[in-house]
Symmetry: none
Subunit: 232 residues, 4 copies
DNA sequence: CATGAATGAGCGTTCATTCAT
DNA sequence: TATGAATGAACGCTCATTCAT
């Protein structure tokens, strides 16, 4: 392990090596437990060079987060073709997401666990990525609602108006949050459970999510029990 | 701030004070950034006493995790009445889960973020809790399937056999994982987004999840597109 | 060298040992070149203890400056008896000053050289001491002027009014500055030149200074040549 | 800021640019806090070139000291015309000294503060300059004594023989030391106190010093009190 | 002549942990 | 029971200095 000691590399290359090493160490040990010494050694350079190029531990961590967030977002974006129906887009996005996280476990750990655990400054970096994905999912849900709506012109389903605005914004966001959380959870599960492919994980999620959304939008929601006064 | 300085407390009480302080500090600062000095000070005792009772930082953290996992599990257990229908049990469990995490933010942070980011040793502790919850949800899903299946004896739904075993174990576990992940994500969302109550979060989740499960078990799953040979 | 390793000392004692060591090292190496390691070793304690008691290198240096400035000021104050004539007070003050600086060379170096060379923050600390001494000298000069004035009641010397206000404030301050600077210079000279006692140094300075002041106050100043237009 | 980037300069010029930059940085930050990076950048050259021309930080600092000492000495020398009376020579020398230090504050800081605070090696460099100035002043005092002595042939002043040898060498040196110290102190005072010109500072010093010397040489010294046996 | 790339060595600071009382 | 006193070990960061081109 540890890059072959090749001297005199151009700066850009060295920087990527350092980021590779840093993502690995940060993913394994966590931000605080990771030592710059270990990162430098794994990158095959001396510590001062890491500081020369990346300034500080904080900046290095931020650079890791940005790079990993960028490649993950790009992977999902590349997996989705905008023209297709909403369910197909979601399916493709999920497949790309599971595939990328499975292929970059350290990067995923950095984004999913480490960045959110060590200070607002880092959490904010990932929050942008998450917000982008949640927005993407939100758009798909809205699109699905629109596609699903016009069953019969003039038809009104049981006491509910079923135009797009059928689902309040906040509920849509909540649904997107739930879906993203489920996906994150399944990614970890699929990546650590032998015998589960990322395709199966995606299928499982689509199954429950898309059907649930359909039922929801067709006006067949699950009804909570009347408020139990003892629990509020 | 900090417990009132009362001398000569029985050991059990002192230990709880220390754990209270530790959970708070670990939750606020994270495992590594938390200092034994600060914990001892907040607990109102001297540092050697912390070591006398709890041996080391690792052991102290483990004790925190165990206690918080125990109280969370107990809260969920207490919220559910076994005799009721599966959907009601799930609803009650979710409500209890959201309520407890909202009421113990430091404890929840310790379990959800800190314990999973600082070494296998701690992650394993929470994994046990998560496994218990996933198992609980898995049982409910299975029960729901059983309840849903025999709608009319002799009825056979479109080409699929719809007994319990209809859904393979692995898929059920996957569904449970997804549901738990969605719940975790929604807990964070509801706890940090103003205007969203934990009840609404629970309702949103039940809506999509239960409807989705119903559709699944009635043999109307979402069908993935045929494998695109170009992407595998 | 280095205190005998005596364990478990009360805090106040240890702090003085640390300050002793720090003054010595700071005096010898300068603020920046002094290492906390060396100071701790000379004090006979571990480095963390130095930080526990004195917080940081800056604070340690400040503490050194304050202590040395305090003892020097105290020594001068103790050497002067307020009731005596101005020349006697100045003489006693000089003797005390030379004696103290000769007896505490490291402390004097810290005050005179190091503190003024390493940042405004430290310079300001010594400035207070210096201001006190300059003020003391200023008072003596003014007193001398008052004593010298009434040679004959009604007598007016050549075109100059010879009350106290005779010498403008700024000039008095300048004189005090000059005298203090001369004293500092002579202290270094006497302390490093073999065969020169601090008594001789004091006598030399009194000789020129007091006579000069006398001449000045009697209205026989040295007259600068007319302004040479070539030099401005 | 920083020299315009002009390539291919002759070595001598480049060296001067480096020394200019170094004096400025050393003066501002102090010897240890000054970084070769900053100096090279301010000089507009790359760091290896600084090492190529000036070997090391120590050598660079030494070169700075030598150059600044040289220009200061030269300025004083140029300000004094040997044929004139001693008091006029001293006055001119002081004026030149104050003017040069005021005009080269970084250089003066390097000589007066930095060089004396960072090791014998550098202190010795400035000591040479100081010795030269002290020697110059010593000569002037001696000349003044000679001028002052033969006021009236045959005249003998109160019990003291007043030829040149009247003042022992050591005392003359001490006087010169005092005067130089006073000048240094006044230079700092005049350069930092608004409303005080270097001309006033010089006048103040001449006033007290020359009158004092005069009184001294005319055999009217200040007499120290009898040794107080209690104090030694 | 000039520089981008690279490092050995060391420093200020902190922290979990223990001893002696 | 409880604590003031003390430390070994490590970490983030910087800097003077040198290759290789």
């Amino acid at each position: 392990m540890g890059a072959v000691k090749t001297r005199r590399m151009p700066r850009a290359v060295r920087e990527q090596q350092m980021l590779d090493a840093a993502v690995q160490i940060f993913g394994r040990r966590g931000y605080m437990a990771a030592s710059m010494d270990e990162i430098a050694e794994l990158a095959g350079v001396s510590k001062p060079l890491v500081y020369l190029y990346l300034n500080s531990k904080e900046d290095l961590f931020t650079a890791c987060i940005r790079r990993e967030a960028g490649t993950l977002a790009e992977a999902v974006r590349a997996g989705v073709r905008p023209g297709l129906p909403a369910d197909r887009q979601l399916w493709d996005g999920l497949r790309a997401f599971f595939a990328h996280t499975a292929g970059h476990p350290h990067g995923w750990t950095v984004l999913h666990l480490q960045a959110r655990t060590h200070g607002e400054r880092f959490a904010a970096e990932v929050a942008a990525l998450r917000a982008e994905i949640v927005a993407f999912v939100t758009r798909l849900i809205a699109a699905a609602a629109r596609e699903a709506v016009p069953p019969a012109p003039g038809c009104v389903r049981a006491g509910r108006d079923t135009r797009d605005g059928d689902l309040p914004d906040q509920e849509v966001t909540g649904l997107a949050e739930a879906l993203v959380g489920a996906a994150e959870s399944l990614a970890a599960w699929a990546n650590t459970t032998p015998g589960v492919t990322s395709r199966q994980a995606a299928a499982t999620l689509m199954n429950v999510a898309w059907s649930g959304l359909g039922a929801l939008m067709e006006g067949r929601p699950w009804t909570p029990p009347a408020v139990d006064p003892a629990v509020s």
